[in-house]
């Protein structure tokens, strides 16, 4: 990675946790490698983040055949004090472009870009 300037320029508005949660809302049946590709982090980091999201109650994992299926708890608030009274549902619907975020079991595959 390039020095100083590159790093200074690489900031984003969402954390990796935020991005992984958005990607799960976009596709609750996504594989870890798809989530990691979309979020731009390693699969290992993605798995750790999913565990964090699960521990905090944002997602629940269930096994469907050989795949993971995620249910997103849209009623949960943001974690930061500045947004604590806001639910994540509308945020995820907006950013994932999936307005039944977390509830739709059948998904329109065309929603998933890349």
């Amino acid at each position: 990675m390039a020095a100083g300037d590159g790093r200074r320029d690489a900031w984003t508005l969402l954390t990796s946790h935020g991005r992984v949660l958005v990607e799960i809302a976009r596709d609750p049946q996504a594989r870890i490698r798809e989530l990691s590709a979309a979020a731009g982090i390693t699969e290992r980091a993605t798995a750790a983040i999913i565990a964090d999201l699960e521990a905090a109650g944002y997602v629940t994992r269930s096994r469907v055949g050989r795949r993971n299926h995620y249910a997103v708890n849209l009623d949960l608030g943001f974690r930061h004090a500045a947004q604590r009274d806001l639910q994540v549902g509308p945020f995820l619907a907006l950013l994932s472009g999936n307005h039944g975020a977390g509830t739709a079991v059948e998904r329109d595959k065309s929603l998933k870009g890349v």
Partner: protein
């Protein structure tokens, strides 16, 4: 241990995201207020604001001795995963500034122009349109936009700043 602490304290937004939301919430916020809300140092806040400014998300405007920010709502997100999305709806949602609410907060005196949204256009009164020339309707149409906020008594320009 430090890593464990960091893992426990994760959030969905980065500090850049939080600062941008706070500026959208209050375009006249001071650096020290923003830093207190977000829980980062003033120095970090300042650096982030400079980043946001360089990337075109905010513009600093000097008003008297204070800084006011103009947020460019039509700017896109920076990460490829959010390609094609503008930050406006995101900020409105997180800052709780529906464009109207932001426009009429009297204590801030924020105008729609501050937030770079379309100014509210008064809708034609449907009753008046239907019966042109008929008797006036009982209720005058309520103005959608608030009038200019009155000057706060006893607060000269920039009065919130103590004299140095």
């Amino acid at each position: 241990m430090e890593e464990a602490e960091e893992r426990r304290r994760w959030t969905l937004l980065t500090s850049h995201g939080h600062v941008l939301v706070e500026i959208a919430r209050n375009p006249r916020a001071r650096v020290r207020d923003i830093s207190a809300i977000i829980g980062i140092t003033e120095r970090a806040t300042q650096a982030i604001i400079a980043d946001l400014e360089r990337a075109g998300y905010v513009q600093r405007v000097r008003v008297g001795r204070r800084t006011r920010y103009v947020v460019h709502m039509d700017n896109p997100f920076r990460h490829a995963a959010q390609d094609g999305l503008q930050v406006g709806p995101f900020l409105e949602m997180l800052a709780g500034t529906s464009t109207l609410a932001a426009a009429v907060t009297p204590e801030e005196g924020i105008t729609p122009e501050d937030l770079m949204v379309n100014p509210v256009v008064a809708l034609p009164d449907p009753l008046a349109a239907a019966g042109a020339g008929a008797e006036p309707t009982a209720m005058p149409p309520a103005p959608l936009a608030a009038p200019e906020p009155p000057e706060l008594p006893g607060s000269p320009a920039g009065g919130e700043y103590p004299k140095n």
